[in-house]
Symmetry: C2
Subunit: 204 residues, 2 copies
């Protein structure tokens, strides 16, 4: 649909151009599965802009979202080989982050989550990516593994021009309040209600 | 999140496996922009499954969703060159469909939309794609350019194993009733409310 009409011009001292290109903090929350899917769809646009894409999945199963992962790894290779689009890094907590020496060992998920956030914080301060997808990141926040106030302070104070998308159910209110865009997905009808389980290519 | 628990086993004469692999009709509707974005995110999974992806955009502007288009065209080339993933076709109405002799001429949008649907119907009957994305297809339905009942009959009677995702606001009730999955996006907070216009890489 048409480019949105701006209803209010804020008195924030910014030019329209500055405001237009402001880096965004986005939260995709709600009860339905479209949250991550929409985040990865948005990352396609960032890739096409040539941004460095950093995906950090706070999930335990390697099976989740393997379709998106494979597609983005392919896009990353397209970039590396042809210069088209942007570079892609895809990290998942799984049984330990790819950069971690603890990988594959019996570690504590809370420790893993904290280690993931510490790495993201380091990258934000170094302005490493153009777009960060922190997938299912609301869960370690909800469970108290990572301090919400510290995350919000870090995100709102991040330097440069870095977009961040956070997905997951039950986003903490402090995070929602800090976000520039909050998308909520609402379940209307789902095949599971009719006795159908998830299937390849659709659910993962 | 974990694979969904099935609450009811329907008496439809299908085995669990048959039901699991049933082709789905999905509708992404609601007031927010995540509709198409989530559909393209889902198409990433289908691509990774090796499905033939057919995207049909019922939009007038060539600028819309160019990021997704470029990324999927890149994935299509990955398939053509390496065999990874599936083939990708991306068609948009714009000023006439790519397959049409009328391309670029002054045509009627209603005629263009009907021509697009006729081509999709032909492909459905020929079982040409594994996943169809009919982007913004609710609008020609809403405006009466294409008959909703005919679309619903064609979609519910489609042969083989073809998934279909339809996006757009104000999906007709008959389409919603026929769908296996309806995702609705609800606006919560949007930067446009704070006087920010759309920006590259985020809105397109």
């Amino acid at each position: 649909m048409p480019q949105g009409q701006v209803s209010v011009t804020p008195e924030d001292g910014l030019t329209t151009r500055q405001r237009r290109n402001r880096p965004l903090l986005m939260v995709h929350t709600g009860v339905m599965k479209g949250k991550s899917t929409a985040a990865f769809g948005m990352a396609l646009r960032g890739w096409n802009q040539g941004w460095s894409i950093g995906v950090f999945q706070f999930v335990k199963s390697a099976k989740w979202k393997v379709g998106e992962e494979e597609a983005f790894r392919a896009l990353g290779r397209v970039h590396d080989e042809t210069g088209e689009g942007g570079p892609v890094e895809w990290h998942k907590m799984g049984s330990g982050w790819s950069w971690s020496r603890k990988q594959g060992s019996e570690t504590d998920h809370a420790d893993d989550a904290r280690e993931g956030w510490a790495e993201i914080r380091r990258r934000l301060r170094a302005e490493q990516h153009g777009l960060y997808v922190l997938d299912e990141f609301t869960y370690p926040l909800k469970w108290g593994w990572i301090d919400v106030d510290e995350v919000v302070a870090e995100l709102t104070g991040r330097p440069g021009h870095q977009h961040v998308i956070i997905t997951g159910r039950d986003a903490p209110q402090a995070l929602i309040d800090a976000a520039d865009l909050v998308m909520e997905t609402t379940k209307v009808t789902h095949p599971m209600d009719a006795g159908q389980k998830g299937q390849r290519g659709i659910e993962w």
